[in-house]
Assembly symmetry: C2
Homo-oligomer: 252 residues x 2
DNA sequence: TAATTTTTGTGCGCTAGCGCACTTAAGAAC
DNA sequence: GTTCTTAAGTGCGCTAGCGCACAAAAATTA
């Protein structure tokens, strides 16, 4: 349970910062409620805030013409939404939808960039996080092509649980289908199979995970790969985020 | 023909830099021959050089266990290889293979980072490029899931031609299959269909593109989307890469 | 010229997921 | 209760791509 040990009520990414930096950064943020099915951004829009979820789940979804949406990533309190504005482009290539209600810290893009400019620890952390997302995206691109629905569903449920911190997930088959880019009946079939294996049970928008270990076995290795990638680059002890200097080490 | 107007013998990305910056940067590079089927990096290895192809094509390929390789991107003289080291992580999540012989500028990672630290125009350019690659990767992740092989093959051939600057591509069906993550016979079938439509012809490792416009129609919209993304962020006139300041504007 | 290797083509049965249409069941509202 | 709405299940024919095996043709080597 890679993200479960984190304390509720905070953002794990920001928790990796030294206290001083974190406190200063959070001071520039406001708290925003994430209401279920809110569309935070549509594809192509200008990003005017960067978000750090504390509770709740946001899915990043890419749409290509004549095809359904596809969830590219789930963002919970282990991550951030739109940190890539530090790359200098404030457009989002995909939309962001709240899939579990909760709340998040958010900061105006300009303020965010200002903070990042003047805080090397924060900068380093976010660059690392962007690299992790990039690596996981490579994995997803392969996974989408090669892996059958049942394993992809298992992966998604695990990712959902990691971010909701609950054994009972509030999500319908219809929504899962939208995230996976398949028909709802496809999810019915795959979920039925997982239920018959006593890994999960569900009814009308509630999915209960009974056997997390078994679900991992039923999922593709991509789930573990993603968790490993995150842990490798964003685990607290090894991160060694530094506070100084901010002059010579302007970017890297 | 989005990349064709570029002069041979240079890297288009670096061409977007002001003369002064470009000359200084290239001065720190060495020229390296790209030999067909060279594996420049394997997945997970430490990146000790960043490459700027001048001629030739390199494919970035992700491997997941029990499945074939999958080409994630083609890199020619419109791009760069491993620029993401500026994110602070010098590992590569995928391997890089030379698919068309040629040559490239390359620079040691440490030197590269040093240059990027002290050259805001270069930094801005590379961040933009990374964003473009990221956006295209989102597109690819969807494309892999939704689009049939024939359209994906058409897209790949167009991307190949853009980077080889020739109408005759040197690539076997076997290699195309490896890049697309499918069986060779799948490519035989799809390529046969494109040939019957008089869009291409081929024999024993040579693919000739007869009708580029038709091939665009036969490809998925993802090809055009990728080209547009590149043009939007990396077109010469609009880029406005600046030289100063390098103090206040340390990162963004 | 003959043998070998590389590249491309064909056939066949199989499976995952599709579109479409319809059914069942559980809550919610009346 | 009864009706209505939302969520989940079933059936059917279809297609893309799979694995496997084998055939044909072009290029290379002997």
């Amino acid at each position: 349970m890679p993200f479960k040990q984190a304390s509720i009520g905070s953002n794990q990414l920001l928790n990796l910062l030294p206290d001083k930096n974190r406190i200063q950064f959070i001071d520039s943020c406001e708290v925003l409620a994430l209401n279920l099915h809110d569309v935070i951004e549509v594809a192509g829009s200008v990003i005017d805030h960067v978000y750090f979820p504390i509770e709740g789940i946001i899915s990043l979804e890419k749409k290509i013409p004549d095809n359904p949406y596809l969830a590219i990533a789930l963002i919970g309190n282990e991550g951030a939404l739109f940190p890539h504005v530090i790359l200098g482009e404030d457009l989002t290539p995909c939309r962001a939808v709240v899939q579990n209600a909760g709340f998040a810290l958010r900061i105006a893009t300009a303020d965010f960039i200002h903070q990042v400019e003047h805080d090397s620890a924060l900068r380093q952390l976010l660059k690392r996080y962007i690299f992790v997302i990039y690596s996981q995206l490579l994995q997803t691109a392969s996974c989408n092509l090669f892996h059958v629905l049942e394993t992809r569903l298992a992966k998604l449920l695990l990712a959902f649980q990691d971010r909701s911190q609950l054994d009972e997930l509030h999500v319908t088959q219809e929504l899962l289908a939208q995230m996976l880019g398949v028909r709802r009946v496809g999810v019915t079939k795959a979920a039925g199979s997982l239920q018959r294996q006593n890994l999960i049970s569900y009814s009308r928008g509630n999915v209960i995970i009974h056997n997390r270990k078994g679900l991992k076995t039923a999922s593709c290795l991509c789930y573990l790969a993603d968790v490993d990638t995150y842990a490798q680059f964003l685990k607290a002890p090894e991160t060694n985020l530094t506070n100084e200097p901010d002059v010579d080490e302007v970017f890297v």
